[in-house]
C-alpha cells in the first residue's frame, strides 16, 4: 500500500472508481450504481488511508484490519476499489456479473475473489459476521480492527438489532460499523417506506458510541474514521452514521432512489463519463 497518499491522489482515485462503477454496470446492463457512487469516498478513504490491510489476500487476515460489506448490492464500488488497491487486475472488472466471472452480482467467496471474506447480499447479516470476526481477533490477541458497512434501508432488518445488542453487551470495542445514510431504498425514500426515526438515538440506546459525518467529503470522512479508531478499546463498539448522496458524482443519478438498481444506457453512460475525469486509466 502507498504509505501516505496525497489528497489529490485520493480524489483521482475517487473519480476513476466512479468511472469504473458506471462502466461496469453499463457493461452488463445490471447492478446498483446509486449506492456505489454514494459510497465511493468511503471506500477510497478506507482502503487507501485508514485500513491496515494486505492486498496479498489471506482469508484469516491475522495481523491486519478486516472489512465486511453487509449491503452487498453495492459490489461495483467494492470490486473497483479492490482492483485499484491491487487485490486483482483491473481488467477483471470488465467481467462483472457475467458468466464464469469471480465478480458475482453480489460479493461471494465461492469463486475465491481476493478481498472477500463472506458472501453478502441478503441483507442484515454483515454486522453479525463482522462482530464474530472481531471477537476472534480478541481471542487471538490480534489488536487490529474490524470494519463493516451497512445500508440505511438495511436497518429495517431485525438481525441488525440482534447484533447491535450483542456487540454492546459483549463490549466488542474493536469494531467500527458505518451506515450509508443516504435516505433511499428501492421502493422510495426510507422515511416513506419504513421510517428509521432517530437512528442516532437508537444506536446510542443500544450502547454504541456514535459519530456522524458527511460521507462525500473525503477529508471529513478520514478525520471521522481516524476519530473512530481512537475510540476503539474503550468498551463500546463504534458506529459512524455517514450521510451520503446516492448517485453522487453523476448529476442525473443524484437525489433519487431511481438509480438504486438500474443500469445506464449508452447515451446515459456518455453523459455520466463526461462528468468523471479518467485519472488512472480505464480498465
Amino acid at each position: 500500500m502507498m504509505p501516505n497518499p496525497s489528497p489529490s491522489y485520493l480524489k483521482d482515485l475517487a473519480s476513476q472508481i466512479r468511472r469504473d462503477i458506471v462502466r461496469m454496470v453499463h457493461g452488463c446492463q445490471s447492478g446498483h450504481p446509486g449506492g456505489s457512487l454514494g459510497c465511493t469516498e468511503f471506500f477510497v478513504a478506507l482502503y487507501f488511508k485508514v485500513l491496515q490491510h494486505n492486498n496479498k489476500f489471506n482469508m484469516d487476515g491475522i495481523g491486519e484490519d478486516l472489512f465486511f460489506l453487509s449491503n452487498g448490492h453495492i459490489s461495483p464500488v467494492w470490486y473497483a476499489t479492490l482492483a485499484r488497491a491491487g487485490y486483482f487486475d483491473v481488467k477483471e472488472l470488465s467481467t462483472f456479473r457475467q458468466i464464469n466471472s469471480r465478480l458475482q452480482g453480489h460479493p461471494a467467496t465461492h469463486e475465491h475473489l481476493q478481498g472477500i471474506r463472506v458472501a453478502s447480499g441478503s441483507l442484515g447479516q454483515g454486522l453479525s459476521v463482522a462482530t464474530g470476526a472481531a471477537q476472534t481477533k480478541k481471542l487471538n490477541g490480534d489488536n487490529k480492527l474490524v470494519y463493516v458497512l451497512m445500508g440505511d434501508g438495511e436497518q429495517q432488518e431485525g438481525q441488525i438489532w440482534e447484533a447491535a445488542m450483542y456487540a454492546a453487551h459483549h463490549q466488542v470495542d474493536n469494531l467500527i460499523a458505518t451506515i450509508d445514510y443516504n435516505g433511499q431504498q428501492i421502493d422510495g425514500p426510507v422515511k416513506e417506506i419504513m421510517d428509521l426515526k432517530n437512528l442516532k438515538a437508537k444506536w446510542e440506546a443500544f450502547g454504541w458510541q456514535v459519530l456522524e459525518c458527511n460521507g462525500n467529503e473525503l477529508e471529513e470522512l478520514i478525520v471521522t474514521l481516524e476519530k473512530a479508531k481512537s475510540l476503539t478499546g474503550q468498551g463500546k463498539p463504534i458506529l459512524n452514521l455517514m450521510k451520503t448522496e446516492m448517485g453522487n458524482g453523476v448529476d442525473f443519478m443524484m437525489n433519487s432512489h431511481k438509480w438504486h438498481g438500474v443500469a445506464p444506457n449508452d447515451e446515459e453512460l456518455k453523459r455520466a463519463l463526461a462528468q468523471l475525469t479518467e485519472t488512472l486509466g480505464d480498465y
Binding site: M59, T109, V118, S122, G132, A133, T136, D142, E162
Partner: protein
C-alpha cells in the same frame, strides 16, 4: 426375543454432544461454542465452565448467532453453535445459506430436541423438516447419530472435519448400544447386523427401534441386514448399493418427514443405480403434537412394530 445389540444404560444424545464438546475443547484450543439461551438444554454447561473465554452467550437471537459463528471462523476458530433443531435450521435458514454454506465457513451447527421425541413441548418445537433443509445446501455435511456414544464420537469427529456441518440429536433418554470405542467415520455407513433377506437403513433414535424390529423378524425367520446411516450427507452410496445387491429390498427408518429425509436420499440412489422395492418409515406429511416420546413414535408410525410391518410388506414386493 433377544436383540443382537443390548444396553445397560440409557442417556440422552444431547449429553453425548455436551461430553464430546468438552473433550474437544480440551483437545483443540481453536474450538469455540455459542449458545442462544439454552446452555442447560444443550448440555454445554461443562464447556462453558471449563472455557469461559471460548464460550459466547448470544441470548435469544439465533440469526445473529449464525452470523457470529461465520465471522469467528475468520482467524481460525471452529465455532459450534447450540440451540434446538427448529431454531438451528428453519428459523435461520437464510443466515446459514449465505453466511455459512455459500461462504463455506467451518461452522458446526449442533441441534438438539429434534423430531417427535422432544415430546411434551409439541409441534412448534418438534422439527421434522430439518434434515431435508440442511441436506439441500451445497457442501453441507449432515450427521444424525443414534445414541449417546455415537453423538459424542460424531462431535469429536467434527473437530477435525473442515467445512459446514449439521449435527442433529435429541432430548429423550435412549438406549446406549454403541460401544464407546466403536469406530465412527463421517460419511461411512455402519453395518450393525449382517443379513440376507432385507436391508434396513436407519438413522438417529430409530436405529434402536430397528434393532428391536430385527429381533422380532429373526424369530419369524427373516434375516435382516441393519445399517446405521449416521451421515445423511455425504451419503455412503457404495455401502447402500452393496447391501441392496444382496437383499434386493429396503426399509428406511427416521424421525423426520417422509419428504426430504433419509428415505428420500436412499430412494434417489436406488432409482438411479438399482431400482429396488422400498418402504419408508417416517412421519407422513404431518406435524407432531404433545405426548411422551414413546406415545408419539407409536401414534405417528415410527415404532418397532411399524418397522416390522414395513419389512413384511417390502419382502412381498421383491422383484
Amino acid at each position: 426375543m433377544a436383540t443382537k445389540f443390548t444396553f445397560t444404560e440409557k442417556k440422552d444424545t444431547r449429553s453425548g454432544f455436551g461430553a464430546g464438546l468438552l473433550e474437544l475443547g480440551k483437545q483443540n484450543p481453536n474450538v469455540v461454542a455459542l449458545c442462544a439461551d439454552l446452555t442447560g438444554s444443550l448440555k454445554m454447561d461443562a464447556f462453558k465452565k471449563e472455557f469461559p473465554q471460548r464460550f459466547f452467550q448470544v441470548g435469544i437471537a439465533e440469526a445473529n448467532m449464525m452470523g457470529l459463528a461465520a465471522g469467528m471462523t475468520i482467524g481460525g476458530r471452529i465455532p459450534f453453535t447450540g440451540t434446538f433443531a427448529n431454531f438451528s435450521t428453519g428459523r435461520v435458514y437464510d443466515q446459514i445459506r449465505q453466511s455459512i454454506a455459500y461462504s463455506h465457513k467451518n461452522v458446526k451447527i449442533c441441534a438438539s430436541h429434534a423430531g417427535l421425541t422432544l415430546g411434551e413441548d409439541g409441534a412448534t418445537h418438534q422439527i421434522l423438516e430439518d434434515i431435508g433443509m440442511m441436506k439441500m445446501l451445497p457442501g453441507m455435511t449432515v450427521i444424525v447419530p443414534s445414541d449417546y456414544n455415537q453423538t459424542k464420537a460424531a462431535t469429536l469427529a467434527l473437530g477435525s472435519h473442515h467445512g459446514p456441518a449439521y449435527l442433529r440429536f435429541g432430548r429423550p433418554s435412549w438406549p446406549i448400544f454403541n460401544a464407546p470405542d466403536r469406530l465412527f467415520t463421517i460419511g461411512k455407513a455402519d453395518k450393525l447386523i449382517e443379513g440376507k433377506d432385507v436391508t434396513i437403513f436407519a438413522c438417529g433414535h430409530l436405529v434402536w427401534n430397528a434393532i428391536e424390529a430385527e429381533a422380532v423378524l429373526a424369530e419369524k425367520g427373516i434375516s435382516v441386514e441393519l445399517i446405521n446411516i449416521h451421515t445423511i450427507k455425504p451419503l455412503d452410496v457404495e455401502a447402500i448399493l452393496a447391501s441392496v445387491e444382496k437383499t434386493r429390498c429396503v426399509v428406511t427408518c427416521e424421525e423426520h418427514q417422509i419428504n426430504g429425509g433419509l428415505g428420500d436420499s436412499v430412494a434417489q440412489v436406488l432409482s438411479r443405480f438399482r431400482p429396488t422395492p422400498l418402504e419408508i418409515v417416517a412421519v407422513n406429511d404431518s406435524f407432531g403434537e404433545s405426548g411422551t416420546p414413546t406415545q408419539l413414535l407409536k401414534k405417528y408410525g415410527l415404532g418397532s412394530e411399524n418397522i416390522v410391518a414395513a419389512v413384511e410388506k417390502v419382502i412381498t414386493r421383491k422383484l
